[in-house]
């Protein structure tokens, strides 16, 4: 059961599962057995299946429009399933917390496609914690949802305050750090 693994292992497990759980149908097939495989680094896997049909039909609207230039905009490719204020608009960066906050060691996970190389990556949406919500302009307040799941699938749910194991659980902003290539 995915969530119970998550319960026991936190991001380590969740990250691992998500890394094998691309939107291309693999997700339903991963099971507990995979959790004992080496979690890192990820092996490149053939993308033959995805390439059989025109790319445009297999891309989400977010992926079709995603850009690689400005990480402080909601349509930056890594932010395909982010819910919150981008830390890059708050004194941090795409994987950097603003001064005075700390990254949650546990996070939820998305799988986003980088249009620059056509590859999908597993993204850890680590919240930066310990300060009141960053008051960035509306442009920086994102709520995208590619492959985003309800709370009973916590490792892929973006409504949870991902501030576990930090000094304070106050939510400040959200980052999108690359964990590795999705299979």
């Amino acid at each position: 059961m995915t969530a119970s693994l998550f319960d026991r292992l936190g991001e380590k497990a969740a990250r691992y599962l998500a890394s094998h759980a691309s939107r291309r149908g693999v997700l339903g097939k991963v099971g507990t057995a995979l959790a004992i495989a080496p979690a890192f680094p990820l092996l490149p896997v053939s993308r033959a299946e995805a390439e059989e049909k025109p790319v445009s039909a297999s891309l989400t609207d977010f992926e079709r429009k995603a850009q690689t230039k400005d990480p402080d905009k909601c349509d930056y490719w890594r932010h395909c399933a982010i819910d919150g204020v981008l830390c890059g608009c708050c004194g941090g960066g795409v994987h950097t917390c603003p001064p005075g906050t700390e990254p949650s060691p546990v996070s939820w996970i998305g799988t986003c496609r980088n249009p620059a190389d056509g590859l999908s990556y597993v993204i850890a949406y680590r919240d930066c914690c310990g300060r009141a919500t960053c008051n960035a302009p509306a442009d920086c307040d994102c709520n995208t949802a590619d492959r985003e799941m309800p709370i009973y699938k916590p490792q892929t749910s973006n409504d949870i305050i991902w501030c576990f194991g930090t000094k304070s659980t106050t939510y400040h902003c959200s980052t999108s750090a690359i964990i590795g290539k999705a299979s």
Binding site: M1, T2, A3, S4, F6, D7, R8, G10, A21, R23, G25, L27, G28, S56, A57, S58, L59, T60, D61, D83, V106, G130, R131, A132, N143, A145, D146, R147, E148, M149, P150, I151, Y152, K153, P154, S157, D159, I160, I161, C163, F164, K167, S168, T169, T170
Partner: protein, 389 residues
């Protein structure tokens, strides 16, 4: 300085009603009596009415609206991480809340707060273990229909449920249920939870030792999960789970819930069933609070929008009205502006309340005709509660 005596001084003065002033609007200055000093007082609330609507406001409070009057009646403190429930006897509002003693640091305090429904006084604060913290997750908290138990979802990230004895004012026990989340209360005697494998876990509890049972997985939790914002009619125990693609699963919650074969919102509307294609444009359910229920007529209201799979957070441009027993679309209502939240009054010919993400007005719609009855200027968000009958 003696504040009490000062208050007494004020309250001993004479009070004239506002109406007296208003009736003289635009009158020429006359020798009418000089307005007299007024006593400052505090309002109390009438009994909770069927046309009350209580939306979130500014991510810090919920506001009580009397929709017929189009006015705010009061404010209940409750942040976007809080959960709010109207007590079954309508004498209290319950708020499950998490507060740091120094705003963003200090001591974390998880509390079940009890507000009197007449005075909005905070009458009790019950200490809790660390709650699950999620943005506007209404299904984190439920109260048993006999008003004896509060069920509160915890996530650390290990998941459990605190069983709060509301009379005694303390947590009786905490049940670990790994792999499952949220609480869906039964008609009596327990609650169910949604699990990551697409099943329900059912917790029979009435004060003693909880008994836990599991259903088989009944939905595809990897590709077409049901929204956590399920409808539960606590008077009957009926639950309605709706998936991202619009599949409807109904059941009566209990130790061994039988789950119906799914039917499709879109097929009930005479349209093709909808799949999980990321470029499969169709009418889909979505929003922050996409569903509402009217028990009097057994009607389900769904915010629908044109979109692809994974557009489940998109605001609705239409409200679809279904008779759930007959699995039938009754009507489609065009919304004057996209809505992220919907709620319904509990009486016959339900009023629908449509709201946006935040800082917007309340659109009040006649659910039988689809007509907009009024738009109430407000700064409220998508999440809300509305009383039952």
């Amino acid at each position: 300085m003696n504040w009490r005596s000062m208050k007494f001084l004020l309250s001993s003065t004479f009070c004239v009603s506002l109406a007296m002033t208003a009736s003289r609007a635009h009158a020429a200055p006359t020798s009418s009596p000089v307005l007299q000093a007024e006593v400052s007082d505090t309002a109390t609330l009438p009994p909770i009415g069927p046309h009350w609507f209580i939306p979130s406001a500014s991510e810090e409070t919920y506001q009580i609206y009397d929709i017929d009057k189009g006015k705010v009646l009061g404010t209940i403190p409750a942040t976007m991480l809080a959960n709010i429930v109207i007590a079954p006897d309508k004498k209290n509002f319950y708020v499950a809340e998490t507060i740091w003693s120094r705003s963003d640091h200090g001591t974390r305090q998880d509390l079940l707060q009890v507000y009197d429904a007449k005075t909005l006084s905070l009458t009790k604060e019950i200490e809790l273990p660390p709650r699950a913290l999620a943005v506007f997750a209404a299904q984190d908290f439920a109260v048993s229909s006999d008003n004896k138990w509060g069920f509160i979802f915890n996530m650390s990230p290990a998941t459990s449920v605190s069983l709060v004895d509301l009379k005694a004012g303390k947590v009786a026990q905490t049940v670990d249920i790994p792999g499952c989340a949220l609480v869906y209360p039964w008609k009596t005697g327990g609650f169910s939870r949604l699990c990551g494998n697409g099943s329900l876990t059912n917790v029979a509890f009435d004060g003693g030792s909880p008994t836990v049972t599991h259903t088989k997985p009944f939905f595809d939790s990897n590709n077409d999960p049901v929204f956590e914002q399920a409808i539960v009619d606590q008077k009957t125990g009926q639950a309605i789970f709706i998936s991202y693609t619009g599949k409807v699963y109904t059941t009566v919650l209990g130790p061994d819930p039988k789950i119906s074969a799914p039917w499709s919102l879109q097929e009930a509307a005479g349209l093709p069933a909808v799949g999980t294609g990321v470029q499969e444009l169709a009418w889909r359910p979505g929003g922050q609070q996409p569903f509402a229920w009217n028990a009097a007529k057994g009607e389900l209201f769904v915010l629908m929008h044109p979109g692809n799979h994974w557009s489940h957070k998109t605001e609705g441009s239409q409200g679809w009205v279904f008779n759930v027993a007959e699995k039938k679309l009754l009507r489609r209502i065009d919304l004057p502006q996209p809505a992220s939240g919907i709620a319904a009054s509990p009486d016959n010919d339900a009023l629908l309340y449509a709201t946006g993400h935040r800082d917007g007005p309340i659109t009040v719609i006649n659910s039988s005709t689809g007509d907009v009855i009024k738009t109430i200027p407000a700064r409220v968000g998508a999440m809300s509660i509305a009383p039952g009958l």
